[in-house]
Amino acid sequence: MTARNPLRTRASVAAGRLTAWLSRSSGLGRGGMIGGRVTLALDPRALRRLGRERTVVLVTGTNGKTTTSLMLTRALEALAEVAANSDGSNMPDGVLAALAARPDAPYAVLEVDEAHVPWVAGQLQPAVVVLLNLSRDQLDRVGEVRATERDLRAALAGLPGTVVVANCDDVLVTSAAKAAARPVWVSTGRRWTGDSTACPRCDGLVGFQGKDWSCGCGLARPEPGWTLEGDLVRTPGGRQVDLDLRLPGDANRANAALALAAAHRLGVPPHTAAARLRTISDIGGRYRTIRRSRHFVRLMLAKNPAGWVETLRVLDEDTPVIVAVNAQEADGRDLSWLWDVHFERLRGRQVVVTGERAADLAVRLCYAEVAHWTEPDPVAAIDGLPPGGVELVANYTAFRDLVGRLPDG
């Protein structure tokens, strides 16, 4: 199956590729983003055209987009070639760049920023949308998570042909996905409720009882078809699939459960998909352990309170921790969220704070009574620790900058 694109789109894609190459080779930035931006400027209908005649899956949510997209990509590669924005460029131009890079791939797995799903989904008419979770992220920029939920809800209501694979333990996700014609509910367990005690439909109080939750207005947890229990995923047919992932933590098991459900919709049997998920050991450098002289540094990304809940669980005991925090545009300029992270759990460890906003983090740790020292440069922070293992947790731009400065393996 070959997608036939009109001449103008093909020419604009070629121009976009050239720009991407230029930006990569001159070290200006992430080529995917810049290449896509040029193409959209050349031909605004390019996205629609490049998505035509393919099976498109969109993955969205506050945390886990890149991981889940990679999982789904691996699973669908059992069927055929897959186009994917695996570098995490999840704005419309990054999505376009991914499609342009693999014009003949019959499948596309695209992670999309929550706020851009309505527009991208309208253009691409995806076969499946995977909705992972919705929580506060970048307080100052995206603004309020409830507005995002309302926009998603309206967008999903307008996609009658799309299957929505959604996490029914997340109140906001459920509210949005209930608008879909064909939701597939996946129970992944509830870990972060900080943003969902007021009902997204009526502002009433959502009550939680064990796994169940409900509001007086009628919004309630649907019966899941798929359920994650420990390391097992139970399918709608009653089969049990052992995950046994190489990636750590419950959050990754939750991502895997959603990926299995989505892959199943597209014809990949759960056992086949799970076996393919087990080949993943790092996500764009995350969870990867790199060696720098006498240190073995495990790199982790945590950019909001919900992400930190998971990260605090997977940190190795007795290993020093470096926390790097920036507040660039892409991170959100407002660091108030640091106060919703239970940094108290780092008490008794060796902790180094670093990054452009190390001073904000130092005050937070001071009030959490976590002994720490400050080293503005993250690489110097590694070198200053005794030889051995290091857990390094960074938020978005801090992580990106650091990966660029460290060896590959």
């Binding site: 309020e144 007021a198 407002d334 106060w339 001073a359 130092a362 005050v363 001071c366």
Partner: protein, 234 residues
């Protein structure tokens, strides 16, 4: 203090807690404990009456619908509120403490009337670092982050907390509001982490006397960094 334990009420954290607002309770609690005073944070949820026995009441930030819900709840379930309690409200909390606020839907809501402030939606959202000089209550400037659409007007019964140096604040060059021992501010989220003097002002009202200073180099460093960075960018 009549009691040996200071009770810090955190009002409706599930709806007025969007921006790390529990931080203010943590800061107050620690600043008391580090001085050898016992303190306890008492969260008061939706559906519960607000106890009249607490020493200090905190209201955080929240979204539009949540804010109206909070105001309605507190008008009904916080009967003791006029009895001279120490109250600190941030962002939506400031608006709820006022006499009236208008939602994005154009509907007016009654506030608690503890501050003489009325609020309407402005033209565009103020999302930035906010610096204000304090109006007599505190020697040092106030620093923080603001994120709100509201424009607030003060009536005769409230004084501004400060004068805006950078940012938006109330919208007319003033920032925040004070009436007796009730303070509201647009310095949102964990405002007291960056403004230890403001934290200690509230605590001295609770204690009935000034508190000995605390030496926290981390906080001094953060204040210096934020105040010099924001000055440079002007």
């Amino acid at each position: 203090m009549a009691e040996s334990v200071v009770h810090i009420g955190l009002l409706l954290p599930e709806v007025l807690g969007t921006y790390g607002d529990t931080g203010n309770a943590q800061v107050l609690c620690r600043r008391l404990r580090w001085r050898g005073l016992d303190a306890e944070v008492v969260p008061v949820g939706l559906g519960e009456p607000v106890p009249s026995t607490l020493d200090l009441y905190l209201l955080g930030g929240g979204e539009d619908g949540a804010q109206a819900l909070a105001a309605a709840h507190l008008r009904k379930h916080w009967r003791s509120r006029s009895r001279g309690a120490v109250v600190f409200g941030v962002c939506a909390g400031l608006q709820v403490l006022g006499t009236r606020f208008r939602g994005l839907d154009g509907v007016d809501h009654d506030g608690l009337g503890l501050l003489d402030v009325s609020t309407e939606p402005g033209e565009r959202r103020a999302v930035a670092e906010l610096v204000a000089t304090s109006s007599g209550l505190l020697p040092e400037p106030l620093t923080g982050f603001e994120n709100h659409l509201g424009v607030s007007k003060l009536g005769a019964d409230s004084e501004p907390l400060g004068t805006v140096v950078r940012g938006t604040g109330n919208g007319d060059g003033t920032e925040g509001a004070v009436t007796d021992r009730v303070i509201g501010t647009y310095l949102h989220g964990p405002a007291l982490a960056r403004n230890p003097e403001l934290a200690d002002l509230l605590l001295s009202w609770v204690a009935g006397h000034p508190l000995p200073p605390l030496d926290l180099p981390e906080v001094d460093r953060l204040r210096t960094e934020r105040l010099t960075t924001t000055r440079r960018r002007r």
